[in-house]
């Protein structure tokens, strides 16, 4: 039996499988197999995404229901308990140094807390209200190129800041990742060495700002420690992606 519609067209092959997956009607084994393909087969993943777009309006049928507050508390515990645990162990270690030292520690923590409070009060006054931000944010996912190096990038035009979120991939010992901006046919221009860390920032100069805002591609190459000696990429490109406005 075919799935031809009134005009004789049919859903077949991967397109039909993608539709089945998004509809949610596949049983367990077929569904798991399709999910694995989404991770490994970009063409199939695109078909799935297209069906997600087509069917998205059906989601209007989901009635919102407020979840109990305990769900968010549990979620925070699952995601951020490690932060709390670190603070506790630091606090627990302090009394070992004697009463006065521990008092000093506590005074230090109190002072830090007050400083934090002052900052928290001041920041909303200094920062533009989030909703009125200029639409000057560009994002890019720098996907692995024959590597496992993946960064997520947000460029903020108002502060000329590039934020990089490290997703996966380690640099080899003694080497550095360097970030490049490539606009049109012009040679790549370096934005600098990417500092180690899960979330890092780079400042952007005037010339590169124009390139970025003109719609450029970002790429990351693997370079000797300290960066490319020639001013152009010398090592393999390990991740790349283009910018899109949000």
């Amino acid at each position: 039996m075919s799935a031809a519609d009134d005009n004789g067209r049919e859903l077949t092959g991967d397109d039909a499988l993608a539709a089945d997956y998004v509809l949610g009607a596949l049983d367990g084994d077929d569904r798991r197999a399709a999910a694995r393909r989404i991770e490994t087969d970009p063409d199939f993943a695109r078909l799935v995404e297209r069906w997600e777009e087509h069917m998205a309006p059906l989601a209007a049928g989901y009635e919102p229901v407020e979840p109990p507050a305990a769900v968010k508390a549990g979620l925070d515990a699952r995601l951020f308990a490690a932060d709390g645990a670190t603070a506790t162990s630091r606090g627990a270690a302090a009394p070992a140094g004697g009463l006065w030292q521990s008092l000093a520690v506590w005074r230090g923590i109190a002072a830090a807390a007050i400083a934090g409070l002052v900052l928290a009060l001041a920041v909303p006054l200094l920062a533009p209200p989030p909703v009125d931000e200029p639409a000057g944010r560009l994002v890019a996912s720098l996907a692995p190129q024959e590597s496992n190096v993946h960064y997520f990038v947000v460029y903020d035009a108002s502060t000329r800041d590039i934020g990089l979120s490290h997703v996966t991939g380690e640099r080899d010992g003694g080497r550095d990742f360097e970030l490049w901006v490539i606009e049109g046919d012009t040679p790549p221009a370096s934005l600098g060495i990417i500092p180690a860390g899960s979330t890092v920032h780079l400042a952007v100069g005037e010339a590169l700002r124009r390139k970025i805002e003109a719609g450029a591609v970002f790429a990351i190459s693997l370079e000797p420690a300290g960066g490319s000696p020639t001013g152009q990429p010398t090592g393999p490109v390990v991740a790349a992606g283009d910018l899109r406005a949000i």
Partner: protein, 179 residues
């Protein structure tokens, strides 16, 4: 909250901004809890699934940047896919599929009701172009995660017939939604 605001919250979440993540949760958790409840039809399971969903959103928010979906559609897709995975992973219990409305009188959450209303009108018009039984099957599969086998049993037709019904219906629906 406009879709643009939600987009910003997801992007900031990708940058591990907890304040943005908390606000995103406040703005979207009612909708996503609605998704989990409808698919899993069990409050405790739905609450656990909702936590899993936001753990995924926290860790995979960067993927949204390479998605063409609208922000709410992306969030719903994360929740829906997770809830359906959970549903399929259950031991076959032999329990009857009963769509009794545990969620009889849901209160709308603090989300963009206007956008949802116009989308809902559009999808309702397109669903009206399908015959009743088929549109019920499409809704059952999409909203509740019913499998082809369950739908075939409920509607008293062979499995392949159900598959054909649904695929034809999806083609028609796609055409109508793109008009």
């Amino acid at each position: 909250m406009t879709p643009h605001d939600i987009t910003k919250l997801i992007v900031r979440t990708a940058m591990k901004d907890r304040g943005a993540f908390d606000l995103l949760y406040r703005q979207t958790s009612a909708k996503l809890f609605g998704v989990c409840l409808r698919v899993l039809r069990d409050r405790a399971e739905a609450e656990e699934a909702l936590q899993d969903v936001y753990v995924k959103i926290w860790t995979k928010a960067d993927r949204f940047a390479v998605s063409d979906l609208s922000p709410i559609s992306w969030l719903v897709a994360v929740a829906r896919n997770h809830a359906i995975d959970k549903l399929r992973a259950r031991r076959p219990s032999g329990a009857p599929i009963d769509h009794a409305a545990e969620i009889a009188d849901p209160k709308p959450g603090p989300e963009s009701v206007a956008v949802m209303t116009s989308e809902r009108r559009r999808i309702d018009e397109c669903m009206d172009e399908l015959d009743d039984e088929r549109s019920a099957a499409v809704r059952g599969a999409y909203l509740s995660g019913d499998s082809y086998a369950e739908l075939a049993t409920r509607h008293g037709v062979p499995l392949n017939t159900m598959r054909t019904w649904l695929r034809r219906s999806l083609l028609k629906l796609r055409d109508c939604l793109e008009r």
